[in-house]
């Protein structure tokens, strides 16, 4: 029996050529010291595989129609067997893919693995990064709750800043000049057919390049890359001390990917995907659109940028950023690879990581957003309030002051905390500020009567949280 099975396998291999195909890959020599710092790319690829599997699973449950997509998500979340878990896994798989891709990229940059002869690996990597970001964005939109539809609008508005053709691209994205029956379907087709096809093409080529040009050896300070001699040197190094890719290198990738899987399973099960917001409805303005975490830093950037230059930054920022990434291997394709000899590269990376992290942090708080759900003040906010102060407190709620200003623990954080404003501004200064507004505060002169103004000012002068 055993030999019978063996014969079948042998026949399949003889006619099918499986070992012929795989042998060059498994016996492919890699530098022996390419160890745990080389797992990031394969872990990103593992996440892609996970996304394909969970994505197909969701495809069996999801209805890609503007009319009922939201209902089908409710079904996935609440009724379908393991539906919520699958959606959670797809969500966290996407997060893992973006996160690991980022680390992979930083690793490659710090070790200058993009230098000769691996420039094309870097370039295809940048393209893959762009597609992955597009996938992350279109994916969060397919949730098609109010956050999803408004994400589509915000994306279209950003495209609008492209000179000359901006408007056309916006309406191209939306599938018409408003959100309609066609909008969701376009993003669905892009997320499920168009960009996955491009990812598969690019990943295949990206991997082929790894085999063709070899895994970059860990850099050593004082051993610069010389394009004239590098290939020969690399070949000789491999012949002398290279190890076969399988299993000497691949076992680490396997272990790390398994670890990633465990983390993602735990996150999917215990945390799950972001909760659905309300049903998509362009006539419901009581919404608070927020992007998923990948875009929180861009969301913050848009709120904080000086508005005179913002439209230009929205267009030139990505153009220059992506242009620089593409140009990198041409700007420096030889010389030192070790981060120890490239202090500016390290400093630049640190700067970018820190900037994005700070924007991320501030974006997660979003102090610039008015807090519509701020708990209103009561007359007890000021002990023994006079009737005028009580009216002032009521106005502070009704006029929406509280959406942006804190009194004690209550209120928004767009503007300054007004708990002890009487220590900073006197009566006249308060009146001037309220009536005329400031760069980021509307002028209330038109909407407050003289008496109302006096009431609010009286309250602010009184207000001392004991």
């Amino acid at each position: 029996m055993r030999s019978y099975l063996k014969n079948i396998l042998k026949w399949m291999d003889d006619r099918g050529g499986f070992s012929e195909l795989l042998k060059p890959l498994t016996t492919h020599l890699v530098p022996p010291d390419a160890t745990w710092n080389y797992v990031w790319g394969s872990a990103t690829l593992f996440c892609l595989v996970l996304q394909v599997v969970t994505g197909i699973s969701l495809g069996f449950l999801y209805q890609p129609s503007a009319d009922v997509a939201y209902e089908s998500l409710q079904y996935i979340e609440n009724d379908a067997f393991l539906g919520s878990f699958i959606r959670g896994l797809h969500n966290w798989g996407a997060s893992g893919m973006v996160f690991l891709m980022g680390i992979h990229m930083v690793r490659v940059y710090l070790n200058a693995a993009y230098k000769y002869p691996r420039e094309m690996s870097w370039i295809t990597g940048v393209i893959l990064m762009a597609i992955t970001i597009i996938m992350a964005f279109t994916g969060q939109l397919l949730r098609w709750d109010n956050n999803g539809v408004w994400s589509a609008v915000v994306a279209a508005e950003q495209m609008g800043r492209i000179p000359f053709i901006g408007k056309s691209i916006s309406y191209f994205l939306l599938g018409g000049d408003t959100i309609g029956g066609e909008t969701l379907n376009r993003f669905f087709s892009m997320h499920v057919f168009l960009f996955p096809a491009l990812i598969f093409l690019m990943v295949t080529y990206h991997l082929y390049l790894v085999f063709r040009n070899g895994i970059s050896e860990p850099p050593k300070a004082g051993r610069p890359v010389n394009p004239k001699t590098y290939r020969k040197w690399y070949e000789e190094m491999l012949q002398k001390k290279g190890v076969p890719f399988f299993p000497d290198a691949l076992w680490r990738d396997a272990i790390f990917s398994a670890l990633v899987l465990v983390v993602l399973l735990v996150l999917a099960f215990f945390v799950g995907a972001p909760a659905l917001t309300t049903a998509p409805d362009m006539t419901n303005v009581n919404v608070d659109p927020k992007p998923d975490w990948y875009f929180t830093w861009i969301f913050a950037l848009f709120a904080l940028m000086p508005r005179e230059i913002e439209s230009y930054v929205m267009f030139f920022g990505p153009v220059i950023g992506i242009g620089l990434l593409f140009a990198l291997p041409f700007l420096s394709n030889k010389g030192e690879r070790s981060p120890l000899k490239r202090p500016w590269a390290v400093a630049g990376t640190l700067f970018i990581v820190l900037s994005i992290s700070s924007l991320w942090y501030i974006g997660s708080i979003a102090p610039w957003s008015p807090r519509f759900d701020a708990e209103p003040l009561t007359k007890y906010t000021v002990p023994k309030a006079s009737s005028q102060v009580e009216r002032g407190i009521q106005l502070f709620n009704d006029e929406g002051c509280i959406y942006c200003h804190q009194i004690g623990e209550q209120g928004g954080i767009r503007g300054p905390n007004l708990t002890n404003v009487q220590n900073r501004l006197n009566k006249d200064q308060l009146i001037i500020r309220i009536v005329n507004g400031a760069e980021n505060m509307p002028a209330y002169g038109g909407s407050l009567t003289k008496e109302e103004l006096a009431d609010i000012v009286e309250f602010l002068l009184q207000n001392q949280k004991k």
């Binding site: 503007a66 009319d67 408004w150 609008v153 915000v154 279209a156 508005e157 950003q158 495209m159 609008g160 800043r161 492209i162 408007k167 056309s168 916006s170 309406y171 191209f172 599938g175 018409g176 000049d177 408003t178 959100i179 309609g180 029956g181 066609e182 969701l184 998509p280 409805d281 362009m282 006539t283 419901n284 303005v285 009581n286 919404v287 659109p289 969301f299 848009f302 709120a303 940028m305 508005r307 913002e310 439209s311 230009y312 267009f315 610039w368 957003s369 008015p370 519509f372 009704d398 006029e399 929406g400 002051c401 959406y403 767009r414 507004g437 400031a438 980021n440 509307p442 209330y444 909407s447």
Partner: protein, 173 residues
Amino acid sequence: MCDCEEGQDKDTIKRRNFLTKLTSGIGMVIGAILAFPLITAMLDPVTRKKKQVWRRVGSMNDFKLGETKMVTFKSASPYTWSKKIANSAAYVRRESSNDFVAFSVNCAHLGCPVRWVEKSELFLCPCHGGVYYKDGSRAAGPPPRGLYRYPLRVKDEVLEIETQAIPITTMDA
């Protein structure tokens, strides 16, 4: 370098050159033909002729003097299956007995829906903190301009709004 092998005559090489060109030419034609349906399908919803239409949003008397009120109407979506998602909203303000203005709910910054805060007579945007006065002009925050407006008319005491594309703020705004 010549990729010809020994013993090949000039005709064989010529023939091979011709066949190379022929094959790549056919490949390109096939590619172009296949790209055609893809591109037309992607463009159809965008290039489809759309006529903006006038929609009734209420009787003139529903709007009090100086009041700002939200109205909803169906956008000019050409698709029957759009259903509820094709509904749009606008803020209508009666400025005098015969003057009305209608503002788009989309913030001029990045399109999020602004909320009307009645008492302070301000429109507030939840996304990046844009603020507008009751006349639609920018009051604070990142928007580069005021709120967009809808064309509006009164016909037999009934207020009508002309549907519009979602306003896209361009770089020169």
